[in-house]
Protein backbone atom coordinates (compact mmCIF):
# COMPACT_ATOMS: atom_id res chain seq x y z
CA UNK A 1 0.00 0.00 0.00
CA UNK A 2 1.19 3.48 -0.75
CA UNK A 3 2.12 5.60 2.20
CA UNK A 4 1.02 8.79 0.57
CA UNK A 5 -1.11 8.98 -2.53
CA UNK A 6 -1.92 12.39 -3.94
CA UNK A 7 -3.71 12.80 -7.24
CA UNK A 8 -4.25 16.16 -8.94
CA UNK A 9 -3.63 18.41 -5.98
CA UNK A 10 -4.24 22.11 -6.65
CA UNK A 11 -3.46 24.97 -4.33
CA UNK A 12 -5.14 28.30 -4.93
CA UNK A 13 -4.17 31.62 -3.43
CA UNK A 14 -7.41 33.47 -2.70
CA UNK A 15 -6.87 37.11 -3.58
CA UNK A 16 -9.38 39.94 -3.67
CA UNK A 17 -9.87 39.83 -7.44
CA UNK A 18 -9.19 36.38 -8.90
CA UNK A 19 -7.76 33.29 -7.27
CA UNK A 20 -4.24 32.41 -8.42
CA UNK A 21 -3.49 28.80 -9.13
CA UNK A 22 -0.11 28.40 -7.46
CA UNK A 23 0.06 24.62 -7.70
CA UNK A 24 -1.75 23.12 -10.66
CA UNK A 25 -2.80 19.45 -10.48
CA UNK A 26 0.31 17.81 -9.11
CA UNK A 27 0.42 14.11 -8.31
CA UNK A 28 2.77 12.50 -5.85
CA UNK A 29 2.91 8.98 -4.51
CA UNK A 30 5.26 7.66 -1.89
CA UNK A 31 5.89 4.08 -0.92
CA UNK A 32 7.08 2.93 2.46
CA UNK A 33 10.82 3.19 2.89
CA UNK A 34 11.29 5.28 -0.22
CA UNK A 35 13.49 8.34 -0.60
CA UNK A 36 11.86 10.65 -3.08
CA UNK A 37 13.38 13.87 -4.33
CA UNK A 38 11.11 16.79 -5.12
CA UNK A 39 13.01 19.10 -7.43
CA UNK A 40 12.01 22.49 -8.72
CA UNK A 41 13.45 25.96 -9.04
CA UNK A 42 12.30 28.82 -6.84
CA UNK A 43 8.61 29.51 -7.24
CA UNK A 44 7.78 26.02 -8.43
CA UNK A 45 5.49 25.37 -5.49
CA UNK A 46 7.47 22.57 -3.95
CA UNK A 47 7.44 24.08 -0.47
CA UNK A 48 3.70 24.81 -0.82
CA UNK A 49 3.09 21.18 -1.66
CA UNK A 50 5.01 20.09 1.41
CA UNK A 51 3.08 22.49 3.59
CA UNK A 52 -0.19 21.25 2.14
CA UNK A 53 0.76 17.68 3.05
CA UNK A 54 1.50 18.66 6.63
CA UNK A 55 -1.57 20.88 6.63
CA UNK A 56 -0.04 24.10 7.87
CA UNK A 57 -1.32 26.43 5.16
CA UNK A 58 -3.57 29.21 6.45
CA UNK A 59 -6.96 30.37 5.19
CA UNK A 60 -5.56 32.34 2.27
CA UNK A 61 -4.75 29.10 0.52
CA UNK A 62 -7.35 26.69 -0.74
CA UNK A 63 -6.33 23.08 -1.26
CA UNK A 64 -8.27 20.76 -3.58
CA UNK A 65 -7.38 17.25 -4.57
CA UNK A 66 -8.97 14.35 -6.44
CA UNK A 67 -7.35 12.01 -4.03
CA UNK A 68 -5.39 12.68 -0.87
CA UNK A 69 -4.80 9.42 0.91
CA UNK A 70 -2.51 8.70 3.84
CA UNK A 71 -2.06 4.95 4.28
CA UNK A 72 -5.50 4.36 2.82
CA UNK A 73 -7.25 7.04 4.87
CA UNK A 74 -8.84 9.82 2.87
CA UNK A 75 -7.59 12.98 4.53
CA UNK A 76 -9.94 15.30 2.65
CA UNK A 77 -12.96 13.73 4.36
CA UNK A 78 -11.63 14.11 7.89
CA UNK A 79 -12.20 17.08 10.11
CA UNK A 80 -9.31 19.33 10.89
CA UNK A 81 -8.73 17.84 14.35
CA UNK A 82 -8.77 14.23 13.21
CA UNK A 83 -6.45 15.07 10.40
CA UNK A 84 -4.06 16.89 12.66
CA UNK A 85 -3.96 13.90 14.96
CA UNK A 86 -2.91 11.53 12.19
CA UNK A 87 -0.47 13.87 10.49
CA UNK A 88 1.28 15.09 13.62
CA UNK A 89 1.89 11.52 14.66
CA UNK A 90 3.17 10.13 11.39
CA UNK A 91 4.70 13.04 9.49
CA UNK A 92 7.53 15.29 10.57
CA UNK A 93 9.15 18.16 8.76
CA UNK A 94 12.53 19.86 8.93
CA UNK A 95 13.23 23.25 7.48
CA UNK A 96 15.79 25.18 5.54
CA UNK A 97 17.48 27.34 8.15
CA UNK A 98 17.79 25.29 11.32
CA UNK A 99 19.19 28.17 13.34
CA UNK A 100 16.20 30.33 12.57
CA UNK A 101 13.74 27.56 13.44
CA UNK A 102 15.09 26.85 16.91
CA UNK A 103 14.11 29.08 19.80
CA UNK A 104 17.13 31.30 20.52
CA UNK A 105 16.11 31.97 24.13
CA UNK A 106 15.95 28.39 25.42
CA UNK A 107 18.58 25.70 25.57
CA UNK A 108 18.60 22.80 23.15
CA UNK A 109 17.86 20.40 25.99
CA UNK A 110 14.64 22.11 27.02
CA UNK A 111 13.45 22.34 23.44
CA UNK A 112 14.14 18.67 22.89
CA UNK A 113 12.37 17.63 26.08
CA UNK A 114 9.37 19.58 24.93
CA UNK A 115 9.27 17.53 21.76
CA UNK A 116 9.44 14.16 23.51
CA UNK A 117 6.27 12.16 23.04
CA UNK A 118 4.46 11.80 26.35
CA UNK A 119 2.89 8.50 25.37
CA UNK A 120 6.29 6.86 25.20
CA UNK A 121 7.06 7.61 28.84
CA UNK A 122 6.00 4.75 31.08
CA UNK A 123 7.00 5.60 34.64
CA UNK A 124 5.11 7.18 37.53
CA UNK A 125 4.75 10.91 37.58
CA UNK A 126 7.82 11.43 39.79
CA UNK A 127 9.91 9.46 37.32
CA UNK A 128 8.69 11.36 34.28
CA UNK A 129 11.18 14.20 34.47
CA UNK A 130 14.16 11.87 34.54
CA UNK A 131 12.74 9.79 31.71
CA UNK A 132 12.16 12.85 29.62
CA UNK A 133 15.81 13.83 30.03
CA UNK A 134 16.89 10.35 29.07
CA UNK A 135 14.66 10.34 26.02
CA UNK A 136 16.12 13.65 24.87
CA UNK A 137 19.64 12.32 25.25
CA UNK A 138 18.70 9.20 23.35
CA UNK A 139 17.32 11.28 20.52
CA UNK A 140 20.61 13.15 20.29
CA UNK A 141 22.51 9.86 20.18
CA UNK A 142 20.30 8.70 17.34
CA UNK A 143 21.34 11.62 15.16
CA UNK A 144 25.00 11.06 15.88
CA UNK A 145 25.67 13.60 18.61
CA UNK A 146 27.72 11.61 21.08
CA UNK A 147 28.45 14.31 23.59
CA UNK A 148 24.87 15.09 24.53
CA UNK A 149 25.60 16.90 27.79
CA UNK A 150 27.35 19.84 26.19
CA UNK A 151 24.76 19.99 23.44
CA UNK A 152 21.72 20.04 25.74
CA UNK A 153 23.18 22.87 27.78
CA UNK A 154 23.97 25.14 24.86
CA UNK A 155 21.81 27.64 23.01
CA UNK A 156 21.23 27.41 19.25
CA UNK A 157 23.65 30.21 18.41
CA UNK A 158 26.47 28.34 20.13
CA UNK A 159 26.22 25.40 17.77
CA UNK A 160 27.17 25.17 14.13
CA UNK A 161 24.61 25.04 11.35
CA UNK A 162 25.06 21.32 10.79
CA UNK A 163 24.67 20.54 14.49
CA UNK A 164 21.50 22.62 14.61
CA UNK A 165 20.12 20.66 11.68
CA UNK A 166 20.90 17.44 13.54
CA UNK A 167 18.99 18.74 16.54
CA UNK A 168 16.06 19.56 14.26
CA UNK A 169 16.15 16.04 12.89
CA UNK A 170 16.26 14.70 16.44
CA UNK A 171 13.12 16.67 17.25
CA UNK A 172 11.45 15.37 14.12
CA UNK A 173 12.29 11.81 15.19
CA UNK A 174 10.72 12.24 18.62
CA UNK A 175 7.35 10.78 17.62
CA UNK A 176 8.85 8.13 15.35
CA UNK A 177 7.36 9.41 12.13
CA UNK A 178 6.81 7.27 9.05
CA UNK A 179 7.52 10.13 6.71
CA UNK A 180 10.09 12.88 7.09
CA UNK A 181 9.73 15.91 4.85
CA UNK A 182 13.05 17.67 4.49
CA UNK A 183 12.57 21.10 2.92
CA UNK A 184 16.01 22.01 1.57
CA UNK A 185 17.78 20.72 4.69
CA UNK A 186 21.23 21.66 3.46
CA UNK A 187 20.76 25.01 1.74
CA UNK A 188 23.53 27.46 2.63
CA UNK A 189 25.71 24.73 4.11
CA UNK A 190 29.26 23.67 3.38
CA UNK A 191 29.65 20.65 1.15
CA UNK A 192 31.19 18.55 3.93
CA UNK A 193 28.35 19.41 6.29
CA UNK A 194 25.82 18.80 3.53
CA UNK A 195 27.16 15.31 3.16
CA UNK A 196 26.95 14.61 6.87
CA UNK A 197 23.28 15.54 6.92
CA UNK A 198 22.46 13.55 3.79
CA UNK A 199 24.32 10.55 5.15
CA UNK A 200 22.39 10.79 8.40
CA UNK A 201 19.09 10.91 6.52
CA UNK A 202 20.11 7.95 4.39
CA UNK A 203 21.02 5.89 7.45
CA UNK A 204 17.71 6.76 9.12
CA UNK A 205 15.96 5.63 5.99
CA UNK A 206 17.75 2.32 5.98
CA UNK A 207 17.73 1.52 9.70
CA UNK A 208 14.25 2.71 10.61
CA UNK A 209 12.59 2.26 7.22
CA UNK A 210 11.52 5.87 7.34
CA UNK A 211 10.38 7.40 4.08
CA UNK A 212 11.92 10.73 3.20
CA UNK A 213 10.65 13.43 0.87
CA UNK A 214 13.75 15.42 0.01
CA UNK A 215 12.99 18.85 -1.39
CA UNK A 216 15.71 20.64 -3.30
CA UNK A 217 16.13 23.29 -5.94
CA UNK A 218 19.11 21.65 -7.51
CA UNK A 219 18.84 18.36 -9.34
CA UNK A 220 22.52 17.54 -9.07
CA UNK A 221 22.54 17.75 -5.29
CA UNK A 222 19.97 15.06 -4.63
CA UNK A 223 20.65 12.49 -7.33
CA UNK A 224 23.08 10.59 -5.16
CA UNK A 225 20.63 10.14 -2.30
CA UNK A 226 17.26 9.43 -3.85
CA UNK A 227 15.50 6.40 -5.36
CA UNK A 228 12.90 8.38 -7.27
CA UNK A 229 12.52 12.00 -8.28
CA UNK A 230 9.56 14.25 -9.02
CA UNK A 231 10.29 17.41 -10.98
CA UNK A 232 8.07 20.48 -10.82
CA UNK A 233 8.14 23.73 -12.72
CA UNK A 234 6.20 26.85 -11.82
CA UNK A 235 3.53 24.91 -9.94
CA UNK A 236 3.03 22.23 -12.57
CA UNK A 237 3.99 18.62 -12.59
CA UNK A 238 6.81 17.94 -15.05
CA UNK A 239 8.17 14.47 -14.67
CA UNK A 240 8.48 11.65 -12.18
CA UNK A 241 10.45 8.45 -12.29
CA UNK A 242 13.44 6.64 -10.90
CA UNK A 243 16.57 8.67 -10.39
CA UNK A 244 18.40 6.73 -13.09
CA UNK A 245 15.69 7.46 -15.64
CA UNK A 246 15.31 11.11 -14.76
CA UNK A 247 19.01 11.69 -14.88
CA UNK A 248 20.03 9.59 -17.85
CA UNK A 249 16.92 9.64 -20.03
CA UNK A 250 14.70 12.56 -19.16
CA UNK A 251 11.53 12.67 -21.27
CA UNK A 252 10.61 16.27 -20.59
CA UNK A 253 12.47 19.15 -22.29
CA UNK A 254 12.69 20.98 -18.96
CA UNK A 255 14.38 18.09 -17.18
CA UNK A 256 16.66 17.67 -20.18
CA UNK A 257 17.66 21.31 -19.86
CA UNK A 258 18.24 20.96 -16.13
CA UNK A 259 20.54 18.00 -16.63
CA UNK A 260 22.33 19.63 -19.55
CA UNK A 261 22.89 22.90 -17.74
CA UNK A 262 24.65 21.26 -14.85
CA UNK A 263 28.41 21.43 -15.35
CA UNK A 264 28.86 18.63 -12.85
CA UNK A 265 26.82 16.18 -14.86
CA UNK A 266 28.47 16.95 -18.16
CA UNK A 267 32.08 16.10 -17.66
CA UNK A 268 32.69 15.57 -21.35
CA UNK A 269 31.80 19.04 -22.65
CA UNK A 270 34.80 21.21 -23.50
CA UNK A 271 36.05 23.69 -20.97
CA UNK A 272 34.66 27.20 -20.98
CA UNK A 273 32.19 26.28 -23.69
CA UNK A 274 28.68 27.65 -23.49
CA UNK A 275 26.29 25.63 -21.38
CA UNK A 276 22.86 24.65 -22.62
CA UNK A 277 20.23 26.93 -21.10
CA UNK A 278 16.59 27.80 -21.45
CA UNK A 279 15.99 31.39 -22.51
CA UNK A 280 14.13 33.78 -20.25
CA UNK A 281 13.41 33.43 -16.57
CA UNK A 282 10.90 31.79 -14.27
CA UNK A 283 7.46 33.45 -14.56
CA UNK A 284 6.09 35.21 -11.50
CA UNK A 285 2.77 34.21 -9.95
CA UNK A 286 0.88 37.22 -11.29
CA UNK A 287 1.80 36.53 -14.90
CA UNK A 288 1.61 32.80 -15.43
CA UNK A 289 1.40 31.59 -19.03
CA UNK A 290 -1.66 29.54 -19.95
CA UNK A 291 -1.41 25.86 -20.72
CA UNK A 292 1.99 24.36 -20.17
CA UNK A 293 3.80 26.98 -18.12
CA UNK A 294 7.15 26.11 -19.64
CA UNK A 295 5.72 27.11 -23.05
CA UNK A 296 7.46 30.46 -23.64
CA UNK A 297 10.85 29.07 -22.66
CA UNK A 298 10.55 25.61 -24.16
CA UNK A 299 12.62 24.72 -27.23
CA UNK A 300 9.98 22.18 -28.34
CA UNK A 301 6.88 24.32 -27.82
CA UNK A 302 4.24 24.20 -30.53
CA UNK A 303 0.65 25.24 -30.98
CA UNK A 304 -0.74 22.46 -28.82
CA UNK A 305 1.18 23.71 -25.79
CA UNK A 306 -1.38 26.40 -24.99
CA UNK A 307 -3.35 23.52 -23.48
CA UNK A 308 -1.91 21.87 -20.43
CA UNK A 309 -0.80 18.35 -21.37
CA UNK A 310 -2.11 15.22 -19.69
CA UNK A 311 0.24 13.08 -17.68
CA UNK A 312 1.48 10.07 -19.65
CA UNK A 313 2.80 7.00 -17.92
CA UNK A 314 5.53 4.85 -19.44
CA UNK A 315 6.17 1.97 -17.02
CA UNK A 316 6.17 4.19 -13.95
CA UNK A 317 8.02 7.03 -15.66
CA UNK A 318 5.44 9.78 -15.79
CA UNK A 319 5.84 12.81 -17.98
CA UNK A 320 3.59 15.75 -18.68
CA UNK A 321 4.44 17.01 -22.16
CA UNK A 322 2.84 16.97 -25.61
CA UNK A 323 6.17 16.43 -27.32
CA UNK A 324 8.09 14.22 -24.93
CA UNK A 325 11.63 13.18 -25.79
CA UNK A 326 10.82 9.52 -25.43
CA UNK A 327 11.38 8.76 -29.11
CA UNK A 328 14.85 10.29 -29.17
CA UNK A 329 16.55 7.67 -27.02
Amino acid sequence: MNLLDIRNLSIKLMTASTPILAVDRVSLTMKEGEVRGLVGESGSGKSLLAQAIVGVLDDKWQVDADRFHWRGIDLMRLTLDERKKIISKDVAMIFQEPMACLDPTTTIGEQLEEAVDIEQLTGFFWQKKQQRKLAAANLLHKVGIKNHEICTKSYPHQLTEALCQRVMIAMALARRPLLLIADEPTAAMESTNQNQIFRLLASLNQLKNMSILLISHDLENVTHWTNTITVMYSGQFVEAGTTQHIFNQPYHPYTRALVDSSPKANMQIPLKSRLMTLPGSIPILQHLPIGCRLGPRCPKAQKACVKAPKVKNYHGHQVSCHYSLKGSY
Binding site: N248, K264, R274
Partner: protein, 260 residues
Amino acid sequence: MASLLQVNNLSKSYKLDGFWFNRKSITALEPLSFDIQAYKTLAIVGETASGKSTLAKLLVGAEKPTTGSIKLNGQTLQHGNFKQRCQHIRMIFQDSGTTLNPSLTIQQLLDEPLRLNTDLNEVERNNLIRETLQKVGLLGDHMSFYPHMFSGGQKQRISLARAIILKPQVIILDEALAALDPSLRSQMINLLLDLQQQMGLAYILISHNLGIVRHFSDKMMVLCKGRVLEVGDTQKLLKQPQHKYTKKLIMNQHFQLLKN
Protein backbone atom coordinates in the same frame (compact mmCIF):
# COMPACT_ATOMS: atom_id res chain seq x y z
CA MET B 1 52.57 36.92 -21.57
CA ALA B 2 53.00 39.46 -18.84
CA SER B 3 50.79 38.88 -15.87
CA LEU B 4 47.97 41.27 -15.15
CA LEU B 5 47.72 40.94 -11.41
CA GLN B 6 50.66 39.94 -9.28
CA VAL B 7 50.33 39.13 -5.63
CA ASN B 8 53.44 38.75 -3.50
CA ASN B 9 53.58 37.40 0.02
CA LEU B 10 50.16 38.72 0.86
CA SER B 11 49.00 37.93 4.38
CA LYS B 12 46.55 39.16 6.96
CA SER B 13 46.40 38.75 10.69
CA TYR B 14 44.00 40.33 13.14
CA LYS B 15 45.16 41.59 16.52
CA LEU B 16 43.08 40.73 19.53
CA ASP B 17 42.72 42.99 22.54
CA GLY B 18 44.96 42.11 25.45
CA PHE B 19 47.67 43.36 27.70
CA TRP B 20 51.19 44.07 26.58
CA PHE B 21 52.70 40.67 26.98
CA ASN B 22 49.49 38.89 26.42
CA ARG B 23 48.69 40.32 23.03
CA LYS B 24 47.51 37.67 20.62
CA SER B 25 46.86 37.73 16.94
CA ILE B 26 44.86 35.48 14.67
CA THR B 27 46.28 34.70 11.29
CA ALA B 28 43.48 34.77 8.77
CA LEU B 29 45.70 34.35 5.77
CA GLU B 30 49.27 33.14 5.67
CA PRO B 31 51.62 34.67 3.08
CA LEU B 32 50.66 33.64 -0.42
CA SER B 33 51.70 34.63 -3.90
CA PHE B 34 50.06 34.13 -7.24
CA ASP B 35 49.66 35.89 -10.54
CA ILE B 36 46.90 35.94 -13.07
CA GLN B 37 46.73 36.88 -16.73
CA ALA B 38 44.07 38.52 -18.83
CA TYR B 39 41.42 36.15 -20.27
CA LYS B 40 42.14 33.71 -17.43
CA THR B 41 40.20 32.61 -14.39
CA LEU B 42 41.61 31.66 -11.03
CA ALA B 43 39.34 29.66 -8.77
CA ILE B 44 39.72 29.72 -5.01
CA VAL B 45 38.27 26.74 -3.20
CA GLY B 46 37.98 26.03 0.49
CA GLU B 47 35.63 25.60 3.40
CA THR B 48 34.36 28.36 5.66
CA ALA B 49 37.07 30.12 7.64
CA SER B 50 39.67 29.14 5.10
CA GLY B 51 40.48 32.73 4.25
CA LYS B 52 38.74 32.93 0.87
CA SER B 53 36.76 36.03 1.65
CA THR B 54 39.69 37.64 3.45
CA LEU B 55 41.71 37.27 0.28
CA ALA B 56 38.91 38.88 -1.73
CA LYS B 57 38.69 41.76 0.72
CA LEU B 58 42.44 42.32 0.55
CA LEU B 59 42.39 42.38 -3.24
CA VAL B 60 39.63 44.96 -3.51
CA GLY B 61 41.22 47.00 -0.76
CA ALA B 62 38.52 46.71 1.88
CA GLU B 63 41.13 45.48 4.35
CA LYS B 64 44.75 46.50 4.79
CA PRO B 65 47.18 43.63 4.26
CA THR B 66 49.62 42.87 7.09
CA THR B 67 52.43 42.03 4.69
CA GLY B 68 52.91 41.79 0.99
CA SER B 69 52.06 43.75 -2.10
CA ILE B 70 49.59 43.65 -4.94
CA LYS B 71 50.76 44.75 -8.36
CA LEU B 72 48.47 45.50 -11.27
CA ASN B 73 50.24 45.76 -14.63
CA GLY B 74 53.50 46.14 -12.76
CA GLN B 75 52.19 49.04 -10.70
CA THR B 76 51.90 48.60 -6.94
CA LEU B 77 48.44 49.26 -5.53
CA GLN B 78 48.55 51.36 -2.37
CA HIS B 79 46.08 50.71 0.37
CA GLY B 80 43.60 53.55 0.62
CA ASN B 81 44.04 54.72 -2.96
CA PHE B 82 40.57 53.68 -4.07
CA LYS B 83 40.51 55.92 -7.09
CA GLN B 84 43.22 53.88 -8.69
CA ARG B 85 42.00 50.51 -7.52
CA CYS B 86 38.25 50.56 -7.96
CA GLN B 87 38.53 51.26 -11.65
CA HIS B 88 40.46 48.10 -12.27
CA ILE B 89 39.33 45.62 -9.65
CA ARG B 90 35.61 45.13 -9.07
CA MET B 91 33.69 42.66 -7.01
CA ILE B 92 30.32 40.86 -7.16
CA PHE B 93 28.76 39.44 -4.03
CA GLN B 94 26.67 36.40 -3.33
CA ASP B 95 23.37 37.98 -2.46
CA SER B 96 22.67 40.54 -5.15
CA GLY B 97 19.35 41.50 -3.57
CA THR B 98 21.00 43.11 -0.57
CA THR B 99 23.87 44.79 -2.37
CA LEU B 100 21.68 47.04 -4.48
CA ASN B 101 20.34 50.16 -2.80
CA PRO B 102 16.55 49.72 -2.86
CA SER B 103 15.83 53.45 -2.89
CA LEU B 104 17.75 54.20 -6.08
CA THR B 105 16.78 53.43 -9.65
CA ILE B 106 19.10 51.33 -11.77
CA GLN B 107 20.21 54.46 -13.59
CA GLN B 108 21.23 56.16 -10.35
CA LEU B 109 22.92 52.98 -9.14
CA LEU B 110 25.05 52.68 -12.25
CA ASP B 111 25.60 56.42 -12.51
CA GLU B 112 27.37 56.59 -9.17
CA PRO B 113 30.64 54.86 -10.10
CA LEU B 114 30.76 56.84 -13.34
CA ARG B 115 30.32 60.21 -11.65
CA LEU B 116 32.97 59.43 -9.07
CA ASN B 117 35.55 57.96 -11.38
CA THR B 118 35.17 59.47 -14.84
CA ASP B 119 34.71 62.95 -16.31
CA LEU B 120 31.99 62.01 -18.78
CA ASN B 121 29.05 64.37 -19.12
CA GLU B 122 25.49 63.34 -18.46
CA VAL B 123 24.59 62.28 -22.00
CA GLU B 124 27.70 60.17 -22.35
CA ARG B 125 27.07 58.58 -18.99
CA ASN B 126 23.51 57.71 -19.93
CA ASN B 127 24.63 56.18 -23.19
CA LEU B 128 27.23 54.13 -21.42
CA ILE B 129 24.67 52.86 -18.88
CA ARG B 130 22.32 51.89 -21.70
CA GLU B 131 25.11 50.11 -23.53
CA THR B 132 26.23 48.24 -20.42
CA LEU B 133 22.72 47.09 -19.59
CA GLN B 134 22.39 45.68 -23.08
CA LYS B 135 25.72 43.94 -22.69
CA VAL B 136 24.48 41.99 -19.68
CA GLY B 137 21.26 41.02 -21.43
CA LEU B 138 18.86 43.62 -20.05
CA LEU B 139 17.12 46.44 -21.90
CA GLY B 140 18.07 50.08 -21.89
CA ASP B 141 14.56 50.87 -20.68
CA HIS B 142 15.27 49.05 -17.44
CA MET B 143 17.18 52.18 -16.37
CA SER B 144 14.25 53.73 -14.61
CA PHE B 145 13.28 50.58 -12.68
CA TYR B 146 13.94 50.00 -9.01
CA PRO B 147 15.79 46.87 -7.79
CA HIS B 148 12.69 45.24 -6.28
CA MET B 149 11.09 45.03 -9.73
CA PHE B 150 13.66 42.52 -10.87
CA SER B 151 13.97 38.82 -10.22
CA GLY B 152 17.02 37.29 -8.54
CA GLY B 153 18.77 36.46 -11.80
CA GLN B 154 18.22 39.93 -13.20
CA LYS B 155 19.52 41.53 -10.00
CA GLN B 156 22.70 39.52 -10.35
CA ARG B 157 22.99 40.89 -13.90
CA ILE B 158 22.66 44.42 -12.58
CA SER B 159 25.48 43.76 -10.10
CA LEU B 160 27.49 42.52 -13.02
CA ALA B 161 26.65 45.65 -15.01
CA ARG B 162 27.80 47.76 -12.07
CA ALA B 163 31.04 45.79 -11.99
CA ILE B 164 31.88 46.09 -15.69
CA ILE B 165 30.71 49.65 -16.30
CA LEU B 166 34.15 51.09 -15.47
CA LYS B 167 35.84 48.66 -17.86
CA PRO B 168 37.83 46.88 -15.17
CA GLN B 169 40.53 44.32 -15.71
CA VAL B 170 39.85 42.02 -12.79
CA ILE B 171 36.48 40.94 -11.40
CA ILE B 172 36.19 39.04 -8.14
CA LEU B 173 33.17 36.75 -7.91
CA ASP B 174 32.59 35.98 -4.25
CA GLU B 175 30.13 33.07 -4.40
CA ALA B 176 28.30 35.09 -7.03
CA LEU B 177 26.68 32.03 -8.57
CA ALA B 178 25.72 30.14 -5.43
CA ALA B 179 22.34 31.70 -4.74
CA LEU B 180 20.96 31.40 -8.28
CA ASP B 181 18.60 28.75 -9.60
CA PRO B 182 20.29 26.19 -11.84
CA SER B 183 18.81 27.37 -15.15
CA LEU B 184 19.65 31.00 -14.37
CA ARG B 185 23.07 29.98 -13.13
CA SER B 186 24.03 28.49 -16.46
CA GLN B 187 22.77 31.63 -18.22
CA MET B 188 25.00 33.68 -15.94
CA ILE B 189 28.00 31.42 -16.57
CA ASN B 190 27.50 31.85 -20.31
CA LEU B 191 27.28 35.61 -19.91
CA LEU B 192 30.44 35.75 -17.80
CA LEU B 193 32.32 33.64 -20.32
CA ASP B 194 31.18 35.86 -23.20
CA LEU B 195 32.25 39.00 -21.38
CA GLN B 196 35.61 37.47 -20.63
CA GLN B 197 36.15 36.89 -24.34
CA GLN B 198 34.95 40.35 -25.33
CA MET B 199 36.68 42.46 -22.71
CA GLY B 200 39.69 40.36 -21.78
CA LEU B 201 38.65 40.18 -18.14
CA ALA B 202 40.44 38.15 -15.53
CA TYR B 203 38.15 36.51 -13.00
CA ILE B 204 38.87 35.41 -9.48
CA LEU B 205 36.13 32.91 -8.72
CA ILE B 206 35.42 32.01 -5.12
CA SER B 207 33.13 29.03 -5.04
CA HIS B 208 32.49 25.72 -3.41
CA ASN B 209 30.72 24.14 -6.34
CA LEU B 210 33.51 22.16 -7.96
CA GLY B 211 31.42 21.50 -11.07
CA ILE B 212 31.41 25.21 -11.88
CA VAL B 213 35.07 25.54 -10.92
CA ARG B 214 35.98 22.75 -13.30
CA HIS B 215 34.05 24.24 -16.16
CA PHE B 216 34.96 27.85 -15.60
CA SER B 217 38.50 28.18 -14.35
CA ASP B 218 42.00 27.71 -15.72
CA LYS B 219 43.89 27.67 -12.47
CA MET B 220 42.78 26.67 -9.07
CA MET B 221 43.97 27.27 -5.54
CA VAL B 222 42.90 25.26 -2.50
CA LEU B 223 42.89 27.12 0.80
CA CYS B 224 42.53 25.59 4.24
CA LYS B 225 42.73 27.59 7.46
CA GLY B 226 44.49 30.45 5.72
CA ARG B 227 47.13 28.27 4.16
CA VAL B 228 47.56 27.40 0.50
CA LEU B 229 47.52 23.65 0.13
CA GLU B 230 47.66 23.28 -3.61
CA VAL B 231 47.88 25.50 -6.66
CA GLY B 232 47.76 24.33 -10.18
CA ASP B 233 45.99 23.72 -13.42
CA THR B 234 42.31 22.98 -12.64
CA GLN B 235 42.08 19.88 -14.79
CA LYS B 236 45.21 18.34 -13.43
CA LEU B 237 44.41 19.23 -9.86
CA LEU B 238 40.94 17.74 -9.99
CA LYS B 239 42.18 14.59 -11.67
CA GLN B 240 45.17 14.04 -9.44
CA PRO B 241 44.75 15.83 -6.16
CA GLN B 242 47.89 15.58 -4.06
CA HIS B 243 46.66 16.72 -0.69
CA LYS B 244 44.31 14.73 1.53
CA TYR B 245 42.10 17.74 2.09
CA THR B 246 41.58 18.30 -1.62
CA LYS B 247 40.72 14.65 -2.07
CA LYS B 248 38.13 14.95 0.66
CA LEU B 249 36.58 18.00 -0.99
CA ILE B 250 36.31 16.22 -4.30
CA MET B 251 34.93 13.05 -2.73
CA ASN B 252 32.29 15.08 -1.00
CA GLN B 253 30.85 16.44 -4.19
CA HIS B 254 30.33 13.03 -5.78
CA PHE B 255 31.97 13.92 -8.98
CA GLN B 256 30.96 10.95 -10.97
CA LEU B 257 27.22 11.21 -10.39
CA LEU B 258 25.40 8.51 -12.26
CA LYS B 259 27.14 6.71 -15.05
CA ASN B 260 25.24 4.88 -17.70
